[in-house]
């Protein structure tokens, strides 16, 4: 075994998030022999990022002013920054709170004077720092995390979740209405769209190995748009999902449109919220794993 000090040194900075990305990293045990983990408060009692750290993985969104400071400080130390998970990339599920009515109650009730000051919304980290690699997923699988550490060139994936799913698409099974998100008996081996579920795997980035749809749950789009759509505005992805449903089902187009555009559908389309109503430039696909 090579001497540990010569191993590449990496740190994990957790901002406001759920620790799911960190748990996924601990699930990936392969790095233990290949990398030296120098900072990760969840599992290491070191209170500062050492100066000779090479790679920084950042998870969680920027939710308070301490997050901003810790993020900028950490990035100034390291050579390479990887944004890990949906929260770091787009603000994540906290963006469900990015509505005037919710923001109002939230800031009124949640504020505490002696603690890190909450920002009105959760921000993606590239609002504050430059990012070298984006690793979307809620959370990214251990396999994806290993690929982000070792280098994306070693990673093979299909362009969309559909291609990794293995469920059969049937020509003659055309639902007339959308089924509830949770409702109904899921038939094994048959495409969830054929069964009337609002599955967005047809244009969601592959690489997760379709774990949710294989288990019988519609894809909620946590990996964000595939390369075909990632550099375009969100509407193009919406239109694409809409077209897939129009082609494969007899569900009235307005029913699909309404379901896709309800505010809570930011759940399905985690990655969209930060495109909507902002003039942010899309992330170049070369930088997204």
């Amino acid at each position: 075994m090579p001497e540990k000090k010569s191993l590449p040194r990496f740190a994990v900075l957790q901002l406001s998030g759920c620790s799911g990305c960190e748990v996924s990293l601990i699930n990936a045990t392969e790095w233990v022999e290949k990398y030296k983990l120098v900072y990760m408060p969840l599992v290491v009692s070191t209170h500062a990022i050492p100066d000779d750290t090479e790679i920084l993985l950042v998870s969680g969104g920027v939710r308070n002013d301490e997050d901003v400071y810790n993020l900028r400080r950490a990035v100034s130390i390291v050579d390479r920054v990887v944004a890990v998970g949906t929260c770091a990339i787009s603000g994540g599920i906290s963006n469900l709170g990015d509505r005037d009515d919710v923001r109002e109650i939230f800031t009124a009730q949640a504020a505490r004077h002696h603690l890190p000051h909450l920002l009105p919304k959760s921000h993606p980290i590239d609002n504050f720092v430059d990012v070298d690699l984006y690793l979307p997923g809620c959370p990214p699988t251990p396999e994806l995390l290993m690929a982000a550490l070792t280098g994306p060139e070693n990673f093979q994936a299909s362009s969309i979740v559909c291609a990794e799913c293995g469920r059969k698409k049937l020509k003659d099974m055309r639902p007339k209405h959308l089924l509830g998100f949770q409702q109904g008996k899921v038939l094994p081996d048959i495409c969830l769209i054929n069964q009337g579920y609002l599955c967005v795997g047809s244009s969601t980035r592959g690489g997760c190995r379709a774990i949710c749809t294989r288990a019988g749950h519609p894809c909620v789009g946590c990996r964000g748009p595939s390369n075909a759509y990632i550099e375009k505005e969100s509407q193009v992805w919406f239109d694409r999902v809409q077209k897939v449903f129009e082609r494969m089902t007899d569900i009235p187009p307005e029913e699909i449109y309404e379901a896709l555009h309800s505010p809570q559908l930011s759940l399905f389309l985690f990655q969209f919220t930060d495109y909507m109503g902002s003039d942010r430039k899309p992330r170049p696909k070369e930088k997204v794993l």
């Binding site: 540990k4 957790q14 406001s16 998030g17 759920c18 620790s19 799911g20 990305c21 748990v23 996924s24 601990i26 699930n27 045990t29 233990v32 983990l37 408060p41 969840l42 599992v43 290491v44 009692s45 070191t46 209170h47 939710r63 308070n64 994540g92 599920i93 906290s94 469900l96 709170g97 509505r99 009515d101 919710v102 109650i105 009730q109 949640a110 505490r112 004077h113 002696h114 603690l115 890190p116 959760s122 809620c138 959370p139 699988t141 251990p142 998100f181 949770q182 409702q183 109904g184 899921v186 094994p188 774990i211 949710c212 294989r214 288990a215 019988g216 749950h217 909620v220 809570q264 759940l267």
Partner: protein, 437 residues
């Protein structure tokens, strides 16, 4: 007045401890949760049936508990009873979560305290014999990974599960998949026990070195697991008095009549109590409330534990030993369950969404977790998350004060205090993401 501030690590989330000292006396000890995302606010207006996918994101460590509690709350609101298979798959999910969590707490969070290391991943730097020490980390991770595999098998996704749905589960577990994990778990069980035996020894050595098991004053205990068998399929919450007598037993919708809740200005997390008294949830509470675990090896450990520490046991470092007993239990119980047929047709029952109110209770690794929703026009009108870590807040602060008293004198502050603060907090294994949501 002197204020000592201790950053915390090897716990879930962002928190710190602030201790105020005046003339060698600890005036106050605050456990401060430093982050908040605001789930209870931003789920307002969400279509109710999306909650089982949204709420696991409250916490990547406790996601399974939120997933199942959410589904149970909606089933309560819609008045639907899931079939037996669904209940079994959900129990397996909770066992997977328990294995993953207790292995993490034992080996990644607290074992370094017993070895004088900063992390289980750095033990080879701190110890003379790198080879054997490294194998300890790998053995520990291998045990922990079983929990992840069980969650994946029973829940579909590996962190934020998807298989529990209103009325049941999306699918069962195929025989050949169950067999693969079953074989792996059976082969690992003896190593689980030997890791725990080592941990027990290390804990005895720690006790020998520091001369205490920590805050041993009596407290109330709360759990929703069984009395004669542990079982993670909760329907009722039970409260044990400091004297070991059961004081209350109630369904989740009545929690307000028994538990008081307060917010503080110094933390994003609230605090609950049993009618003003210090309350404890998590492993020690479950063990104090159980006369038997219901599986052979875990029962042996329980007997050894009770023989050594009595019942109810109060010292806080015993939380850690109880996690080990539960780890063994979860392995044994999961092995028992994976032998059953889990792949038949009866996965779920139909339901009709309706407006109203629902409560979902599960025993999360940290204690009883309740989701409470009010639904109007199919949308969430109000949501409450009753979080186990919040039940432990007063107990954590009391134990911190006890540690402060031990290590602070008018002459000086003993350097052991910083380590003691870490040990106290980790004994309760708090989850900040959950406590603040």
């Amino acid at each position: 007045m002197t204020t000592l501030r201790f950053p915390l690590s090897r716990i879930e989330g962002h928190a710190r401890v602030e201790m105020e000292i005046e003339e060698g006396e600890v005036v106050s000890a605050q456990f401060q949760a430093l982050e908040m995302r605001g789930f209870r606010y931003f789920v307002l207006g969400t279509p109710a049936e999306q909650m089982p996918v949204i709420t696991p994101r409250i916490c990547g460590v406790c996601s399974t508990a939120h997933h199942v509690a959410s589904v149970k709350a909606l089933e309560d609101a819609y008045d639907v009873q899931p079939p037996r298979l669904a209940c079994e798959i959900r129990e397996l999910l909770m066992l997977g979560q328990l294995i993953q969590n207790q292995a993490t707490s034992l080996f990644i969070f607290t074992m370094p305290d017993r070895l004088g290391a900063s992390s289980i991943f750095h033990i080879d730097e701190d110890e003379a014999d790198p080879d054997t020490q490294m194998s300890l980390a790998q053995r520990a991770l291998r045990v922990r990974q079983i929990g992840t595999k069980l969650i994946t098998l029973a829940g579909g996704q590996f962190i934020h599960p998807v298989k529990a749905i209103i009325g049941g589960v999306t699918s069962g577990i195929k025989r050949q998949d169950a067999d693969v994990l079953l074989e792996e778990m059976q082969a690992l069980l003896s190593d689980v026990c030997s890791l725990f035996d080592d941990y027990w020894e290390m804990s005895m050595a720690l006790r020998e070195r520091i001369g205490t098991w920590g805050d041993d004053q009596p407290a109330f205990y709360i759990a929703s697991t069984g009395g004669s068998q542990l079982r993670f399929n909760s329907s009722e919450i039970r409260v044990l008095g400091p004297d070991g007598h059961e004081r209350a037993s109630f369904p989740p919708n009545l929690f307000r009549s028994y538990l008081d809740y307060e917010e503080t200005e110094y933390s994003y997390a609230g605090q609950s109590s049993y009618q003003g008294e210090v309350l404890r949830a998590n492993s020690l509470a479950r063990i104090n409330l159980a006369s038997a675990m219901g599986t052979p090896l875990a029962d042996d450990y329980l007997e050894k534990f009770t023989h050594e520490f009595g019942k109810p046991a109060h010292p806080i470092l015993l939380f850690d030993l109880c996690r080990g007993i539960e780890l063994v239990y979860a392995f044994e119980r999961a092995i028992e369950m994976l032998k059953k047929d889990l792949d038949y047709e009866d996965t779920d029952v139909p339901y009709t969404p309706k407006d109203g109110e629902g409560y979902g209770l599960v025993e999360a690794p940290r204690g009883p977790l309740i989701h409470h929703y009010k639904i109007k026009d199919g949308l969430i009108e109000d949501a409450e998350f009753i979080i186990p870590t919040v039940h432990n807040m007063l107990a954590i602060e009391r134990a911190l004060k006890v540690a402060g008293k031990r290590y602070i004198t008018p002459e000086r502050i003993n350097l052991e205090l910083e380590k003691a603060v870490g040990r106290v907090v980790r004994a309760f294994d708090p989850c900040i993401a959950c406590a603040t949501q």
